[in-house]
Amino acid sequence: MAGQALLSARGLTRDFRGFRAVDGVDLDVAPESVHALVGPNGAGKTTLFNLLTGFLRPTGGRIELAGRDVTGLPPERVARLGVARSFQITSLFPQLTAQEHVELALQSPSGLGWRFWRSAKLMRRYHDRAAELLDMVGLADLAHAPSEALAYGRKRALELAIALALDPKVLLLDEPTAGMGLEDVDRTVELIARVRQGRTVVMVEHNMSVVGRLADTVTVLQAGKVLVEGPYDEVRADERVITAYLGAADAAR
């Protein structure tokens, strides 16, 4: 299995001052699959994301991308290797327009960003591609609004457009539908279904209907460990998962 996985983790562990947020996680993400990470709050999903994208260094374990050891690489290197992520808490550049965000992302691999002696107008070469991406996520008419002026759901869509601009092999989406209205959720699901063609998607998602519609494989995390892994229908029927979720729901209330 490990041989054919595009992104894999072995014994991945991360400690925070004596608290083990991620505890010996093994993960194999098959190429061109949609792999969902689910689990109650505090299960370590976002920490796992941060480990996979280089934002956190693992305390132990190993991460491989297409057979290459990427453990401990800084986030910009991981991004350059074709792993793009969105953030759970919308993370944008407040003053830049949607268009400028996507142009900035498109420019990233080109090295154009080092040209301090050239005009920023050079970035217009990415204009058409950026417009295309914005259109794809339904932001065509908001392309020139500063991102801070966008509504929440639109910001999430912009996050997705930026991640897609990097043309990643692996797309990591941290709760892509969190806080969205039903209509936006449907649109996002459709969009992910479209962009997954030829890509591998890993997503953290709480909305089980979204997981059911998109995911090929589901990994359930609990207290930093893998509880169950398998196809959605199997995982959904699993006793341990039901207990974990109900237990967490009880504890939260």
Binding site: A79, F93, L96, E100, Q107, R115, F116, A120
Partner: protein
Amino acid sequence: MTSTVDTPADATRPAPPSGLLTVARAPGWVRYALLAAGLIAALWLPNGLYPAVAVDILCWALFAVAVDLLLGFTGLMSFGHAAFWGASAYVTGLVAIHAGLPFPAAVLAGALAAAVLAVPIGYLAVKRTGIYFAMVTLAFAQMVYYVANEWRSVTRGENGLQGVPRSLFGLDLSDDYYFYYAMLPIVLLGLAAAWRIVHSPFGRVLVGIRDNPARARALGYPVHRYKLTAFVLSGFIAGLGGGLFAVGHRFVSLDVLHWTTSGKAVVVVVLGGIGTLWGGVLGAALVVRLEDWLSFSNFEAIGLVTGGIFVLVVLLFRRGIWGSAEALARRWWTSRKR
């Protein structure tokens, strides 16, 4: 003692964004009118002011723009930029005295030396942010100060470097009035370079890094290397200012490396408006002019007045002079359109 007093936002942080490229986004005729007004003011300056003061204003304008490149456009507050201003002043002075080169060549040598010095200092400093970055830069600047103080055989210690020549192909530039016009092209080139950097693809990345470093990294931008590059460019521009200051005064004293020089540069930028570039030029003109006027009128506590004005501006006009003017103009513009 766990007081939960609601502290105001960190005073060193720029006020809420005044719109990063607002001038660039203003209508074309406004931009050209401002440019023309600026050039006319630059050409007129030594006729309206004591020429020596005009020379100082130009030097400080470069210094302020260099500091704003970091503070306003990269989100890094250097509290040690006197190291680059001062190092360049010494190198420029030494080259001019010992090599007898035309002064622009000596200034270029000084600025390059400042840029080289900025590499190791920047390398270590950009790994920190906020107040820690400020402290690291201050610490290095103090080191440079003490080295200059101890290395008397070269820097002449407290006596300073005397008799820095103003040679330029045999022209007589001993009069500050003529020297002003001789140095003006270099200053304009330096300012143009800063403008170009801010409005380049690189500048766009810097602003991204300033606003959201994590996001910039997720896009594949090596944040530390970008910050270091900005730091070195800023060191170079500060060095241009420092070198011209040395030639302008025909004398280099340890003051150019003193921490108060770094502090004054930050004050000038905050007064003029962080992240506005031209605000720094305006701030330099005001502070230098004011200090000259106060010292001319034998007023002893100059710091009290400039400090007082600084406090007022920070409290009342958090965007600085340029930033506030820009915000006003924009409000007027948008209300007119409706």
